[in-house]
Subunit: 470 residues, 2 copies
């Protein structure tokens, strides 16, 4: 390895190679607590340097783990414990290369943080509208194909990606330049799709061209308490009927999830009043891209009228509704992930269904958990508007089963079998693939899809890169 | 061929094999007048039959041309003149298999017409919102990745496709079932992308799962006459600022294009008044998915106010504007394609640019055409909102050059070189690839993209299918 490191220092500048003695804990520790080990961290500043690194690693059988913001949920950006995998961080490719407010696109390095891009876009009243709890970098967002809380309006990375520059995981480290800033371009196989949601399997994204959306200038936000779970599903359809053009979030939060957010974060105001946490709540957001206009009904009034109409119906689907300051209502939503994680040992499932199927699944699983796993508490939340759910199961940290790998495996199979085989859902809605989902990939991917992916990988990018084995 | 036809009759039923004597002109004649020849037309009713056909053709070196609605613009669905290419029509796979109004998706056979799907969706107030002048079938829409007039709101087929079933162009005719009706599903390489916009290169799409949108319940439509071409580009930005959530079409129409539509179709009312055709017009459409509500400003009033504000500015970008019955204004837009085509020999260019670049290109080309090709009249129209343009050049039918292939080639290079090499645009915005664009593909595709496409084709779908050579 010494010789390899020596060679990397000829490719990269002074700051390009970090060794364990330089303090690299942050590069080997993942978001969900996984810890690996690496002989060095490589920090190229260009596609060309990245290409030289890949070609060298290919020639010497070295395994690279690309790392972007390192905020992945499924152990997809940190090395394993072998000590042999080399981290390649894109963090120095962090230039905002161009913002084009007329064409509504931005060209950035893979190491640009989402927050940095959105800060730069604010003066143009534009945004890259993927709304996440974490602050990833753009390259990792492509590799993960992130979705988030406003997916039902803006969709995910795939739908907002115009192009990439990437270094292929082949013997030459071929640089693929597919960066045209065109909204419509229909000239053959869409090569960039190889790099979307594939966790570095086909190579390393170094530059990204994204489509931008107008920054909302008005919003109206409410917490809805549905009469029951059937009503929660029905509310989505009713809200879409009455204000589809404005709908930008429809997020579900279970009693347990809200409870844990409030317990963990005492600074959080309980919007329902002290000690009162409803059985379920939906965070509804409407937004418009233009400022208020005199002749136009204010968005809060639109929302109030719609909710009043739903409330006054016979057999009303709404038990209650609170229209409130957006920041306060979103603070509750955004505190859930951490609150749940801190409340015990978490088994997180990032699943999705046909819209309408989630509550059927949820009801069935609550019954089954009572029988088979009464030690687990369900603290689910997530993206009802697009059929996605974060099905969080928590076990007391003191429970001896909490850290037993075979127990976790049993729980994973128990849930994922029901999601995929019984309810036709997905075991990975938006977190993508990584070490934590590789067993599920092996188990639930149709044979012909696996074979095709494998054949394409072998044909064009045969060098092993990233955490995913296929 | 006799033996082959005999064999096809063992795979398919009575109506499954059509011979020239059965009257098959419709299957060998393309939308833009190209005429080929075929020994037979195969009409499978299932993926299984399609698979058997592909496997047989692979074993016997027979070349299949998949044909869906046969409305392609670039000779991508008809056989060539060799008489050796066999047409495989998907027209009997025309069942609407499922409509799910809760999940907002539809599962259909590849041979279902867009109009048939939308007719069936109307009762649910839903639509598959790709708005086209023609009426293609869903399988061909996937293979072409069609865009259309409301792309700036709904995007194209790629962004509204949930899944496909397809038969791979390999020796076994492997059936790929990638039909999960999930809005969010992030479980590895997105296999369906192989079949989007690739004209059958990788195989034949037999079933399609699409995402649906609410049918608009209100719309407001206007024709805008910009002060000049700079103002036309600026108007888009202004309109987006003031009503992005409502914007569903922003279509440009040149004087010559409108003139030819009106001349060709005497039933068409000239919305500008008899004999008065402006230098340029923009068809602007706003829409909402819900019916009018008492407290809400009507959409026509929203539109009027926005236009009034633009009109009253110093140096107003608007010379004039007409708010009118949507059907009448769209009739003009929809008559252009045929009007232009019938007015002479047409050289059609389906091009796109960064938004904002089209008018720079247009101005430059008007000057160059005067010098180098005064015999050509520019009758452009298209999708300003997404940077797309149908750059239609017409030459008098009596001009001796009109049907000389080398002349057409000169014109194609003259335009496409400027589009791609000089202005960084695309030679195919939304019509996809076919015989008419294969020279452009060869000339303008980056070598590494060509090599990757070729390597993937060779690895997974080595049997030649379709009109595209790569």
């Amino acid at each position: 390895m010494k010789d390899h490191i020596k060679h990397f220092k000829t490719i990269l500048d002074d700051k390009g190679v970090l060794l364990p003695e330089d303090g690299i804990d942050g590069y080997v520790s993942g978001w969900r607590g996984e810890i690996g080990s690496t002989p060095c961290v490589l920090r190229p500043t260009s596609s060309q340097e990245t290409s030289q690194i890949i070609a060298y690693c290919a020639a010497h059988n070295l395994h690279l783990i690309p790392q972007s913001g390192n905020t992945g949920m499924v152990a997809n950006s940190v090395p394993d414990e072998s000590g042999e995998q080399i981290v390649l961080s894109t963090e120095r490719m962090n230039k905002i290369i161009d913002i084009d407010p007329i064409n509504k696109c931005a060209h950035v390095g893979a190491g640009v943080r989402l927050s940095a891009l959105n800060d730069a876009l604010a003066e143009y009243h534009l945004s890259f509208p993927i709304d996440l709890g974490s602050d990833p970098c753009l390259g990792g967002m492509v590799s993960t194909n992130t979705g988030g809380s406003r997916y039902l309006k803006y969709r995910g990375v795939r739908e907002n990606l115009m192009g990439v520059k990437a270094v292929l995981a082949d013997h030459d480290g071929t640089v693929i330049d597919d960066l045209k800033p065109l909204h419509k371009n229909n000239t053959g196989l869409d090569i960039k799709q190889l790099f979307v949601g594939t966790g570095g399997l086909f190579g390393i994204v170094t530059e990204v061209m994204v489509r931008l959306s107008p920054l909302p200038a008005q919003s109206a936000t409410a917490l809805l308490i549905p009469r029951d779970m059937d009503a929660a599903a029905a509310l989505l359809i009713e809200i879409e009927k009455s204000c589809h053009n404005y709908l930008s979030a429809f997020e579900g939060m279970s009693h347990n999830a809200m409870q844990r957010a409030l317990s963990h974060n005492p600074a959080l105001t309980n919007p329902f009043g002290q000690d009162d946490v409803p059985h379920y709540a939906i965070l509804l957001e409407l937004s418009r891209s233009w400022p208020e206009r005199e002749a136009e009904q204010p968005l809060n009034d639109v929302l109030e009228n719609i909710l009043a109409e739903l409330w006054e119906r016979d057999n009303a689907p709404l038990e209650n509704a609170l229209i409130g300051a957006p920041e306060r209502l979103w603070a509750l939503r955004h505190s859930i992930s951490e609150g749940v994680q801190k409340s015990g040992k978490l088994f997180a499932f990032d699943i999705s269904f046909k819209r309408g199927d989630f509550f059927r699944f949820r009801e069935a699983m609550i019954e089954r958990l009572k029988t088979h796993h009464p030690e687990l508490t369900l603290c689910d939340f997530g993206h009802l508007g697009d059929g996605g759910a974060h099905f969080a199961l928590v076990i007391d940290r003191d429970d001896t089963r909490a850290s037993v790998p075979s127990y976790e495996k049993t729980v994973r199979n128990f849930i994922n079998d029901a999601v995929v085989l019984e309810f036709g859902g997905s075991y990975s809605a938006e977190h993508g693939l990584g070490r934590k989902t590789e067993e599920a990939y092996a188990k639930y991917t149709p044979d012909e899809v696996k074979a095709l992916t494998h054949a394409i990988k072998t044909a064009i990018a045969p060098i092993p890169v990233g955490t995913i084995k296929i």
